[in-house]
């Protein structure tokens, strides 16, 4: 199952070429991830993701530019769920055209002790339906 996020683009996301700046794609991907993992998880009654997940790697492929007037939609799903890491895959659509693909390696992290931690049961249950 894919999580679909309609992503508002801000004027300041544009670069001098009138396209969404390539570095900002990562912020748009982040908005979609936060909508699922923080806001979506709150609706399920837990906030543990907000209190500690770090990103260990991002990969972004740029397929075509996104214009300011393009409605941007991000679809994301889970590629992999392991004891102490999970991998999110994304597609970014500008209108009806696929503009970018991305992949994020996420590590649950204990901020107090500054070390990786294992996914909890509720976290794993929450993520599982989104695994392709």
């Amino acid at each position: 199952m894919r999580f679909v996020y309609q992503c508002p683009v801000r004027w300041s996301d544009m670069d001098v070429y009138g396209h969404v700046n390539n570095a900002r794609f990562l912020t748009l991907y982040e908005e979609a991830r936060v909508a699922l993992m923080f806001i979506g998880a709150r609706e399920h009654g837990f906030t543990s993701f907000e209190r500690g997940v770090v990103i260990s790697r991002h990969e972004v492929d740029y397929l075509r530019p996104v214009d300011y007037t393009d409605p941007v939609r991000i679809e994301l799903w889970l590629e992999e769920i392991r004891a102490s890491r999970f991998v999110i895959r994304y597609e970014l659509w500008g209108g009806d055209r696929l503009a970018s693909r991305a992949r994020s390696v996420c590590v649950p992290f204990d901020l107090a002790n500054q070390r990786p931690r294992r996914l909890s049961g509720p976290e794993r249950d929450f993520l599982a339906p989104w695994q392709a």
Binding site: Y17, A23, L26, T27, R57, E59, V60, Y62
Partner: protein, 117 residues
């Protein structure tokens, strides 16, 4: 948390790339005398958090890891202090003909410039 947001790292890497492009024969897309190039792919590994402090100055080191007919890969490292890099980035650049909307071969002087890095 007071840490630099991970998405912003991409902008630091980009700024370093733009500075490098500006002094290269390829130049900055859209600027005077530019020959056209695009970013096709970026992959970033995050190795350590960067904690904000007033006066914090970051350094980006860039080198060419691979060069092909029309594309080349920049290997970039971000440093916050004298210890090891806090993030590493591999960026695939493609020499691009905007009019024809397709990749173009690198010119000889561009190849020489990027090969020397």
């Amino acid at each position: 948390m007071g840490h630099v947001n991970h998405a912003r790292y991409l902008s630091y890497f980009e700024d370093a790339r733009m500075a490098l492009l500006d002094r290269s024969p390829t130049r900055i897309p859209g600027g005077s005398g530019h020959r056209g190039c695009i970013v096709a792919r970026v992959a970033v590994d995050y190795l350590a958090q960067v904690t904000f402090r007033p006066g914090l100055m970051l350094r980006v080191d860039s080198a060419v890891a691979r060069i092909g007919t029309s594309s080349w890969t920049l290997r970039q490292e971000l440093y916050a202090d004298a210890s090891g890099p806090v993030a590493c980035c591999a960026c695939v650049m493609v020499a691009y003909d905007y009019a024809a909307q397709k990749p173009r071969p690198l010119d000889g002087d561009e190849r020489a410039y990027w090969s020397a890095l």
